[in-house]
């Protein structure tokens, strides 16, 4: 079922993406953010909150002087470690309790700081490597089953109800469980703490919640003889911190897009670019598959028109991921089934787009999002649109398959909705399992022509972006029709230039 597309156009798009990313990479190399620094602390073992519920990593980073911050929190913290001889967690507690400050050790030489950090960095790296090895072994013992991998969300707001829902979904056939974050968490400039039981439209992403869910899924996975993957959301103001927590708690995937926060959450672009880079370095090392958010272009604007933008975003996400050291097998590029169900031959367009993505990114674990925007309260109709989506996915061999819910327009999924959604996917994917292998497209027909048009328009778009520069293009509203100024948006004050001697021990360790 190959589309005959021009490989030279694909190659041109890739090299345009590289040229688009290069100047941004230079910016990234010269900057850090409060979130990157907080994640350094988290990796070192700093966790917990003070009496006002402020997470210690925030407390510590916010306590840095501008000069200290420019060198990275690690050096200041390392100095204190060296001088106090405390473990990182204990040191953080001391500082939180006001019994000492990071300012107190400025005179300590950088070398001592590095020395004091080294064993903790090593321990963190080993712990992450251990988690990665756990996953490898578990997958070997209890393979996941064949793709499209069925992915469902849980989102009750209460981690314990979510756990019930997740276990039930796994039993029903789900292969991946995503815990959706509470409304607005991506705009918080800190990560909440502890197990949580209240959230709106989702459950807070906290390290404790990660652990609760991981354990439950390990248990049910063992019972079912199928490893169940766990995923959550990174993109937002805390991308690198969530990436660290996910690494430590063996999440298997993370939503992580190089531009989502900018376009869809009005997060400052510099902040996002720096954050995504470090978070992806961590994801790469943790063996975590990232999921990019191209579906968002389609839910906010017309899906037929946005197709070239989706493809362009995929090229850019791929490029940024490569630059963070990520292999193709961890780059879960996004796409979605969002064409108006009333459009004649809309299904053909969807097949064209899905197959085009499959061919252009042959080794990427593509993430295919279900219809959402055109879902209505008519659950019967919704179930059918989901079925056509399921069919497209199995035909075009998508990898990560988000199961559409018949109640998409109504509420975050009920336990029964999830069972019906999984049943839908299983039925369609089984009855048409090899259909894609058994057909080919009419040469120069509707499907092939559509795919070529999208590819051509994507190239034009990337050329435009390359000519203007990525940051300016975003400012000019080239993507998703939204304009974001380079120094506007949330979290800009958390971006800073790396000073002379800036040190992030994990960056080094991860590059090694």
């Amino acid at each position: 079922m190959e589309l005959r597309i021009d490989p030279s156009v694909v190659a041109a798009c890739r090299s345009l993406a590289a040229r688009v990313a290069r100047p941004v990479e230079e910016f990234i190399a010269g900057h850090s953010t409060v979130a990157v620094e907080r994640s350094v602390l988290r990796l070192l073992g700093v966790d917990g909150v003070n009496a006002e519920e402020i997470p210690l990593p925030n407390l510590l980073v916010d306590s840095l002087s501008p000069e200290q911050r420019a060198q990275g929190v690690a050096l200041a913290f390392g100095r204190a470690l060296a001088e106090t001889g405390l473990e990182p967690a204990a040191l953080a507690e001391e500082i939180a309790a006001g019994r000492t400050t990071l300012a107190a050790y400025d005179a300590t030489p950088a070398a001592a700081a590095r020395g004091a950090l080294a064993p903790h960095v090593e321990r963190a790296m080993a712990r992450i490597a251990g988690r990665r090895e756990e996953r490898r072994a578990a997958l070997e013992r209890a393979p996941q089953g064949e793709p499209p991998l069925l992915y469902v969300i849980v989102a009750s707001g209460n981690i314990y109800e979510d756990r019930t829902a997740a276990v039930a979904a796994a039993e029903a056939g789900a292969q991946i469980i995503a815990v959706i974050r509470s409304t607005g968490q991506s705009l918080l400039d800190f990560v909440p703490y502890g197990p949580t039981t209240e959230g709106f439209g989702g459950t807070y992403a906290t390290q404790a919640n990660f652990a609760i869910m991981r354990e439950a899924l390990d248990v049910i996975g063992e019972k079912l003889g199928r490893y169940i993957m766990l995923t959550n959301y990174a993109s937002g103001l805390c991308m690198p911190e969530i990436a660290s927590m996910a690494a430590l708690e063996r999440l298997d995937m993370l939503l992580n897009d190089s531009m989502y926060g900018i376009l869809f959450r009005d997060i400052n672009m510099k902040r996002t670019f720096v954050d995504q880079h470090f978070s992806r370095m961590l994801n790469a090392y943790s063996g975590i598959i990232i999921n990019t958010g191209e579906d968002n272009y389609l839910t906010t604007a017309d899906a037929v028109e946005q197709a070239p933008a989706v493809l362009a975003s995929q090229f850019i996400n791929e490029e940024f991921a490569h630059r963070a050291g990520m292999p193709d097998r961890q780059i879960g590029l996004g796409d979605a089934y969002e064409i108006d169900p009333a459009l004649q031959d809309g299904f053909l367009f969807q097949v064209a787009q899905a197959q085009l993505t499959r061919q252009i990114f042959p080794d990427a674990p593509l993430k295919y999002m279900p219809p959402t925007k055109h879902m209505t309260g008519d659950i019967f109709k919704g179930h059918l649109i989901d079925a056509m989506f399921n069919l497209t996915s199995v035909m075009t061999k998508q990898t990560i398959h988000l199961c559409g819910m018949l109640t998409e327009a109504i509420h975050t999924p009920f336990l029964g909705d999830r069972a019906l959604a999984i049943e839908n996917a299983r039925y369609v994917m089984n009855t048409a399992r090899h259909f894609g292998d058994e057909i080919s497209f009419k040469p120069d027909g509707l499907i092939e022509t559509r795919a070529r048009d999208v590819l051509r328009d994507c190239r034009t778009l990337l050329e435009k972006v390359e000519a203007r520069g990525l940051m300016d293009s975003i400012a000019a509203g080239v993507f998703a029709d939204v304009k974001r100024p380079p120094d506007g948006g949330r979290g800009f004050d958390g971006v800073f230039a790396r000073g002379e001697g800036y040190y992030n021990p994990f960056e080094e360790a991860l590059r090694a």
Partner: protein
Amino acid sequence: MNIGQSGLVKPYGDTLDDGKVQLSFTLPIEWSEAADEAARQLVAKMGFADVQVVEGRRIATGFSFFVVYGSSTQSIDASKIAAPSAKAHAMSMEEIDALLRDRLGRKVRVAGACIGTDAHTVGIDAILNMKGYKGDYGLERYQMFETFNLGSQVAVEEFVRIAKDRQIDALLASQVVTQKGSDVKNFTALVELLEAEDLRDQVVLICGGPRVTNLMAAEMGYDAGFGRGTLPSEVAGFIATRLAERVEKTRGQR
């Protein structure tokens, strides 16, 4: 069971005891916003709380279709539901044959039919025919059953006549069409006629069909009822156990 302290259960949406139920129905009124509101009030009158009309639309002149969610205020003590299954006698074909050989010492004579005007024989055939159902052999395949499959549209009188003439041990009546209660009517007519002819206690009387439950069978005066997805061995197991018990009892009485 995920039940609360009380033992009472309620429908479960995404939180214990939230009572969430999905409903859909048609109202014979033209669609309008007021029709949505009528649907909402109607469902509220049915006793649901937090009623949300999530879809309401015109499906024809004078008819509107609705999808509604609501929270039921009702609950039930699931632990107190008495609905003994007739399928409890899980045995293999070999075990059943052995049981009958040991305890009864002769072949069991079974007659099955789709009674009344019902012509849906696939279900009763699934139980009786050699081939069976979902890999489970039918009664004809058993060494200790002699089966008479009378087919479709067998009048109740005819069925009882055959039961008498052929000295049947177990009668299997099927009803698939249920419109306007025709199934209950025919099943009831069969018991009544058997009683009138003083045959009721002579036979193991079984009914089946996709809407049959064991409870409903008991209420109608049957020994057992089998619903959707029944396997032949479940029926065979029931017959064998019941007949073996009767032999015990008769022995005991002597």
